[in-house]
């Protein structure tokens, strides 16, 4: 994108939606929203609306895919046809298949897969409305759904992106910033263990800029982590309050 049609950051240093460069979009998280799934979570991050559901561990079919020493984690990231401006074909696209794999690999290190051999855990992620940074919001929601299903894990996984827009490093890019900006760096993190489980970069950044973006994304992750934990606790704390 060489010629810029519009300014992505105004004179005051604010972004298109009025956020400061290091500000997250408003986030709302809910846990246990689906009755039929073993675990589920719903996240709204800005205009993103994403549902995650977890089934398992359960018997794996077809059986020849089962592993004798650990659980098979299966992940499906899917965008609803109405999630974007132009209707998206409901068939899994190249991008969705890739994101399914990327999300699976971001979640895998957090789970004790060796505990339940010969079984499968299925994670379904449904993007109802997309506005940039869906892979990050999906990871955040999927990890919560896994915790809600009672699957033992090392830590919750949180994800957040940072990037470069109009030569400024910004946090949590939305769709227009992602498409018209210079770079996008999604990061997934297990905050208590301080371990990164996903790190991608799309675009061009200098080494210093990259470092700055990663650190900014990690700070964003930690802020979302607090909300994630709060959402998980809220399900049980509420009952306590009603009773007393």
């Amino acid at each position: 994108m060489s010629q810029k049609v519009e300014k992505l950051i105004d004179k005051k240093g604010l972004r298109l939606d009025g956020r400061k460069p290091d500000e997250l979009r408003p986030i709302k998280i809910e846990v246990g929203v689906l009755a039929n799934a073993d675990g589920s979570a719903y996240i709204q991050q800005g205009k993103n609306k994403i549902l995650a559901a977890v089934y398992g561990p359960r018997e794996l079919h077809p059986k020849h895919l089962a592993l004798p020493d650990r659980t098979v984690l299966r992940c499906r990231y899917h965008m609803a046809p109405f999630s974007v401006q132009e209707r998206k074909s409901p068939a899994p696209s190249r991008r969705e298949i890739e994101l399914s794999k990327v999300i699976r690999e971001a979640l895998e290190p957090s789970l004790f897969l060796e505990y339940y051999p010969r079984t499968a855990i299925d994670v379904f992620i449904e993007v109802l409305q997309a506005d940039g940074g869906t892979r990050c919001a999906s990871i955040t929601a999927a990890s919560l759904a896994l915790a809600d299903a009672g699957i033992p894990m090392r830590d919750l996984v949180v994800a957040c992106a940072a990037g470069k827009v109009d030569d400024t490093i910004v946090l949590d890019l939305m769709d227009t910033e992602d498409k018209k900006g210079n770079a996008d760096v999604p990061v997934a993190l297990m905050p208590n263990l301080n371990a990164i489980t996903l790190l991608q970069m799309d675009g061009n950044l200098s080494l210093e800029e990259f470092e700055k973006a990663v650190n900014l994304a990690i700070d964003g992750c930690k802020k979302i982590y607090a909300m994630q934990k709060e959402a998980l606790r809220a399900k049980y704390v509420n009952i306590k309050e009603v009773e007393e």
Binding site: D148, G150, M153, N192, R233, K240
Partner: protein
């Protein structure tokens, strides 16, 4: 050697529970002398050991457990039983039929058919094989009547209560016979449907509020209120 939470406090996966010379108990793990929670639940520190009583979990078979399951498949020499766990259990025909049987002659679906409920005991299980069941003990076998309730398996001890206080109270108040499966499935048999429904209500209440204190008293109160309401209504 600090601990970072109070007893019976709510923790989420990844929370640092204790540091130093502690032993990782249930639903926790140890890394570099630090103990973390691996499930959402309530912490419990007993001496050196750190446990988390999970609020969300599934049933993992253990040899000796009594379970209640549903027959999902009739095979040539046995049945496959869903015991509300990641693994399906096997019940062998030779275990159910005490006499010798021939697969060509005996029709196993006449003994137990798909959808039948059984109370059974786990006699063998390891990582490499699915659990095996037996019904060859008194009190085990096909269920013919009653109501079945499913709850989170980790909450079975809460339904039993301290030294069986909760379960004996429910049995006494409702006059129902209650069998607890370790897999979180509970069978209630009473003389009247209303009694069974009352016991079911009490168990659902325990399932929802298992992490609160003073639960036995509240459940007793609920049953008494419910009884009074019914008397007034009829």
């Amino acid at each position: 050697m600090p601990t970072f939470f109070e007893k019976r406090q709510l923790v989420t996966p990844g929370d640092l529970l204790a540091e130093g010379d502690y032993i990782a108990g249930e639903n926790t793990y140890k890394e570099n002398d630090k103990i973390y929670a691996s499930r959402i639940g309530l912490v419990d520190y007993e001496d050196r050991k750190v446990n988390v009583v999970a609020l969300r979990a599934f049933y993992i078979p253990r040899v000796g457990d009594t379970v209640i399951g549903t027959v999902v498949e009739v095979g040539f020499n046995g049945w496959t039983v869903d015991i509300n766990s990641p693994y399906l259990a096997l019940l062998r025909a030779s275990d159910v039929l005490s006499r010798p049987f021939r697969p060509q002659k005996n029709d196993l679906s006449k003994v137990l058919d798909v959808g039948d409920l059984v109370i059974a005991k786990i006699i063998a299980y390891d990582r490499a094989h699915n659990p095996q069941l037996t019904v060859g003990e008194p009190g085990l076998g096909k269920i013919t009547r009653g109501q079945v309730v499913k709850i989170t398996p980790t909450k079975i001890p809460r339904v039993i209560g301290r030294k069986g206080s909760m379960i004996s109270m429910i049995k006494q108040e409702t006059g129902c016979h209650i069998i607890l499966g370790h897999n979180g499935v509970i069978l209630i048999t009473g003389k009247r449907l209303e009694d069974e429904q009352l016991a079911m209500m009490a168990i659902h209440k325990i399932d929802e509020e298992s992490h609160t204190s003073g639960l036995t008293d509240r459940v007793t109160q609920m049953i008494k209120n419910e009884k009074a309401k019914r008397k007034g209504g009829s």
